[in-house]
Symmetry: C2
Subunit: 224 residues, 2 copies
């Protein structure tokens, strides 16, 4: 199809499509004449993905480019996947970053990972981000989260198991894309569900109980 | 203390402090002469909070202002709290938003909330955000997450219970600030822990099993 039809099918203006082409987010079509290109169903799907990452995920153009780069090759290395999965985090958090987490905070996260049996490289960017968030909460005098970090780990473990299963179920070569997009949109989904559950608990006054200095007891997360 | 000393104590430049004063993020000090103001320990703590939300949380100045506005009053209404808790989500997601979630997706999230016993207003912004994330995943052909949304709800339930408990433990009038800051930094903490657990599972090849069309079986989140 021609550019005008690609625009009509995808609902993205021709000016925006040209912008994505210039920015390298979208592969050029096949050249049919000196001035005309031919686009296919792959371009429509790719446009859908770009719009989702930009509009719903709130990523920058640069972050989308980095995330998409990984889903290109058939032979995706785990290292690339780790990097891309981290991308939306680092983009969001490092905009004005001037500080890094202390060794103590990093050690604490590594110890947490060991308790949960998560074999992960100590220099993984996700370790640094978790350590920085933890340290910042402490610096602000908010020790409640720090004291219950294993509960957050339990929440993360359930989400990650589901993420990886979902990516597998979405099947084959699409698995990588599924995992990366799932991370971007999944952050949003999880964060909003967490707020829904919070609001309910606040409304019900379910914020009592003693907990403050010891590890939290197992939360009753039973489903009706 | 004078501005110069506030800058030294907080590690924030005088130019930046003046910017926060102009933007209304920081309350003016007490006037001592026509040109000099006096600042106190509250200003140091507030600067620490602003920097955390901006640098680590990645929020915009406008989002920080909205979030902080709620933590001001002694008499915080639940409605304000709901709005502020949502703020970092809406700011991030609505930058270029052109679409809203369909009624079907909203109904699906409301049904999920009902299954989990979360009493929440149907027009809560968190409902709309969750519905939009879900719908976008489906539009991209990623049905894995949608099919296992109760597992994400389970993860969110654990996080929310911990959030509210932690905010309570951080005590009294600081509880609101704790919850809001905990949401901003907690999103980051949870997202990075989730990636750490994912990386481990990918490395171990723990992405097998049949699941794709039915509700997921209970994940083993047992802690070592």
């Amino acid at each position: 199809m021609r550019l005008a039809q690609l625009s009509e099918t995808s609902g993205v203006s021709t000016a925006t499509i040209k912008y994505y082409l210039r920015e390298g987010l979208l592969e050029p079509g096949d050249r049919v004449t000196a001035t005309q290109m031919d686009y296919g169903a792959g371009h429509v799907q790719r446009l859908r993905l770009i719009r989702a990452l930009l509009e719903v995920g709130g990523l920058s153009i640069a972050a989308v480019r980095n995330v998409l780069a990984v889903t290109e090759g058939a032979d995706v290395r785990l290292k690339d996947l780790e990097q891309a999965a981290q991308e939306p985090l680092s983009t969001r958090a490092s905009l004005q970053r001037t500080e890094v987490a202390s060794d103590a905070a990093v050690s604490e996260i590594l110890a947490l990972a060991e308790r949960w049996g998560w074999a992960v490289s100590p220099d993984s960017p996700a370790i640094a981000t978790a350590a920085e968030a933890l340290e910042t909460l402490r610096r602000l005098g908010q020790t409640g989260v720090a004291n219950q970090i294993d509960e957050y780990a339990r929440s993360a473990e359930i989400a990650a198991a589901t993420d990886v299963k979902a990516a597998h179920c979405d099947g084959g070569f699409k698995g990588t894309e599924a995992l990366i997009v799932g991370n971007v949109l999944g952050d949003l989904l999880l964060a909003s569900l967490r707020r829904i559950a919070q609001i309910h608990r606040l409304r019900e006054g379910q914020h009592t109980g003693s907990c403050c200095s010891e590890a939290a007891d197992r939360t009753d997360a039973g489903q009706a």
